[in-house]
Amino acid sequence: MTSLCTLTAKDFKSDLKPIWCPGCGDFGVVQAIYRALAAIGRPPHQIAFVSGIGCSSRIPGYTTAYGFNSVHGRALPIAQGIKIANPELLVLAAGGDGDGFSIGGGHVPHAIRRNVDLAYIVMDNQIYGLTKGQLSPTSPRGLRTVSSAFGSLENPVNPLSYVLAYGAPFVAQGTPADLPALAAVIEQAIRYPGFAFVNVQSPCVTYGEEEQQIKAHKARMKPLESLGHDPSDLVNAFRLAQDYGTELYTGVLYRNPDPSPTLDSLMRERQQKMSEGALPRERILELFAQS
């Protein structure tokens, strides 16, 4: 499975030039992904990288993996289909906060409860960038945007407590302001056997707020490790998750030390158990033969 020759971050970088604005946080995220994939060492052709629509959803095209830049909000169903169809593949899904928690929000709980072995990276910038600056599901209450001229009247989604509440076995957060740490949590997410979620606070340099920029992140971010947080402590993870929007924690928030089997492995077991005694495909109509 693992390649004999050593892979470097460069091997995962494609020739496509990103459409992102100079200074966009997503540049850091894609760098972190290159590094994580190099550390893991699976060759690009064994990786399927799926996204939805949005600035950040362009990301699969900037890697040398098999990419699928699908439609808005549907990265997770497609990614799960890929992994179930071929469990040998390393499957990544990615997108923005709108893709994951607004239009595609209904898919997240089900990907979690199925526990298909894949890593889901959300680039959370609290704004819709591609459509030029509207409210997103994680925009703070009161935010004035082109679609909320008098300030948002709605509470934001909290991605961390959202996924924890549905039982995600691996939840982490990162920021491109600390690239090595971000690469490290993405690597851990990919290695985790099951559904792994990484919320990346990825600044929108064009429409984002001042305190959401890289410079501010560098000042604000608090590594969970330095706070003495034990990632196997679900109750404390929930407590810390409540600070979303005020504190910028980085690192692994929750890691279930006793992961349940993944859906893809359970399905494979069932296939193996049931393979004996099947009618050959060309004789399938015998199912309906009158006795």
Binding site: Y66, N69, S70, P77, I82, N86, L89, M274, L287, Q290
Partner: protein, 594 residues
């Protein structure tokens, strides 16, 4: 008699549908062909239920017209089915005398049936079997006695079905069956009606459209099904959920219709043959991913089992109202093949064809089944699967991977398709417009080329005459065109009309879209008048044909909303009217000119 149409209705729990199933199984064993439709009230449990069984010595083409035999365990229930169980002058009516209605006061407006029997069905069940639960077995005895059908076969079926329930239950049911036979012997029909004996009994299949569709998917090499429960298509997912694992495949009951088709498209991207199934409301939701499959050029089979009405409509009733949706839904200029089966048996062939087209042209393909075909059980001859070929997608090899150009402009428009895991085949699949290498683009020139490619690849499909069935008189001036379950009614109408001296022909497309202009042109060349018969208010096939080919002015739609099935006789009568008006026109044209 060559065939017999039996309609039965009762309350849920009366075992009417189970009696119908026993009857067709017994008839199959004796070599008859049969077709059974079920119909229920909308209650989850209980409420009224009914079935129609048509038996024949030749393959049965449709549920038939007026009933030869009507069985009402309860008149309130029977009457709720209205036009689905039509009683006529030649119908033998059998009902439970416990309903308290006198034989000369039946609640049948303006109809005087040929014979009426008020039979103490419930009482016979109690006396012979000790329980009213055996009413359906008494009914089977009555039918076997009066119409000479499958007496031994029914008895064998009862024995097999009840073997597990112990000797007492079995003996009780045998007595109930016999009591029906004895009653029929003591009260003979004035004019005996016995159905012809079939020839040598050959092995038959008993299957409905949904189950055979799922079996065709397995036969075609399908390895993944993603879907969401929706009436009347759910049985496709259910059968695959029992069987597909055995072949190393998987079934995902997704959180919604979108995730159902999304996961299937993911599996196809991963290199597997994949399928989803739904009904109209689910089609609406699946549309965005259908469009994605078209632009990403990925194979996918979508089965839409049509039901009645817009929105939730009538989930348990049949209609052919999703043709426009199957053909036109999705944004942007898009084309996808749409196929329709016309009966249970050809649901197999059409589904196999759908997989083949999906793989050959790297496209989503819609199979438009309908509730009637999907949920009716037919007794059919076995299908020789060795006559089918299975198509696999073209995968890149050798030089095609150095470097791999996913959407390479080829002569056919079809480009070799790699999948994750294939070294050197890495590419970006996208819903975004792309150039040959799969790189996103917003350039008009690249878009124009890709649009042309995505349409051009379907050109050979329009010459596939094997996806059409033409029968009748080749040079007839009178014609029928029909699709889906309605085609079976038209086949019989064609025979009636020809037996009546009319020269007429019938065209039945399996391929509805793209419209095979050439096939229709040559079919219509001799035609002056006729009908496009379909079960939709607008007459969607008629309108589609008007859009893409020349339809002779004398060919008109014969269409109406679902749950009001066509009868062969009314179509034959409509043909006669058209023949007469053509004659008049010809006569007028021959008037001497001044």
């Amino acid at each position: 008699m060559r065939d017999l149409v039996i309609g039965m209705a009762g309350s849920g729990g009366d075992g009417i549908v189970s009696a119908g199933e026993s009857l067709i199984a017994a008839c199959a064993a004796e070599g008859y062909h049969a077709l059974m439709t079920k119909s229920f009230g909308s209650q989850i449990r209980g409420g009224e239920s009914s079935c129609r069984v048509r038996l024949g010595v030749a393959p049965v083409l449709n549920p038939g017209g007026a009933l030869d035999v009507a069985v009402a365990l309860n008149w309130d229930d029977f009457l709720k089915f209205g036009s689905e169980l039509p009683v006529a002058g030649n119908t033998v009516v059998v009902y439970d005398s416990a309903t308290g209605i006198a034989p000369d006061a039946l609640p049948l407006e303006g109809i005087d049936p040929a014979a009426v029997f008020a039979v103490p069905i419930g009482e016979m069940a109690r006396k012979s079997a000790g329980t009213e639960k055996a009413k359906n077995t008494v009914v089977l005895g009555l039918l076997a006695g009066w119409f000479g059908i499958a007496r031994d076969g029914i008895l064998r079926g009862i024995r097999k079905k009840l073997a597990k329930k112990g000797p007492e239950v079995l003996a009780a049911n045998e007595r109930a069956f016999q009591s029906g036979i004895d009653y029929a012997a003591a009260h003979p029909l004035d004019s005996p009606r016995t159905i012809d004996r079939p020839g040598q009994a050959t092995k038959k299949l008993i299957v409905d459209g949904n189950d055979i569709c799922a079996a065709a998917a397995i036969f075609s090499g399908c390895d993944f099904f993603g879907g969401y429960p929706i009436t009347p298509s759910t049985e496709v997912m259910q059968l695959l959920g029992r069987e597909l694992w055995k072949y190393g495949g998987a079934v995902l009951q997704a959180e919604d219709e979108i995730a159902g088709i999304g996961s299937a498209l993911g599996a196809s991207f991963a290199g597997k043959k994949a399928m989803t199934a739904t009904s109209g409301p689910g089609m609406s939701l699946k549309t965005e991913i259908l469009g994605l499959a078209s632009i990403a050029e990925l194979p996918l089979v979508l089965v839409d089992v049509q039901r009645g009405g817009p929105s939730t409509g009538m989930p348990t009733k049949s209609e052919q109202g999703d043709l426009f949706q199957a053909v036109f839904s999705a944004n942007g200029d898009v084309i996808r093949p749409v196929l329709a089966p016309t009966c249970v048996a050809d649901t197999f062939a059409v589904t196999v064809e759908a997989f083949n087209l999906a793989e050959r042209y790297q496209t989503p393909v819609v199979v438009l089944s309908d509730q009637e075909i999907a949920q009716r059980k037919e007794v059919i001859d076995p299908i020789d699967t060795s006559r089918f070929t299975i198509v696999e997608r073209v995968r890149p090899r050798g030089a095609e991977l150095e470097p791999y150009v996913r959407f390479r402009q080829t002569e056919s428009g079809v480009s070799p398709l790699s999948h994750p895991g294939m070294k050197g085949g890495n590419y970006l699949a996208a819903g975004i417009e792309h150039n040959e290498r799969g790189e996103p683009t917003a350039g008009g020139a690249a878009h124009a080329k890709m649009m042309e490619k995505r349409f051009r690849k379907f050109a050979p499909l329009k010459t596939r005459e094997d996806l059409f069935r033409i029968e009748g008189d080749p040079n007839a001036r009178l014609a029928l065109v029909s699709w889906g379950s309605t085609a079976g009614v038209c086949r019989e109408a064609l025979r009636l009309a020809r037996a009546d001296g009319l020269s007429v022909k019938l065209l039945v497309p399996w391929l509805l879209y793209p419209v095979a202009d050439g096939v229709y042109r040559s079919f219509f060349a001799s035609v002056k008048g006729g009908l496009v018969v379909e079960q939709s208010y607008q007459g969607q096939l008629y309108r589609l044909l008007k859009m893409f080919t020349d339809v002779p002015a004398g060919v008109q739609p014969l269409c109406r909303a679902g749950a009001n099935p066509f009868r062969p006789t009314e179509i034959a009568a409509a043909l006669r009217d058209i023949a007469l008006s053509l004659q008049r026109q010809a006569g007028d044209a021959r008037q001497p000119q001044e």
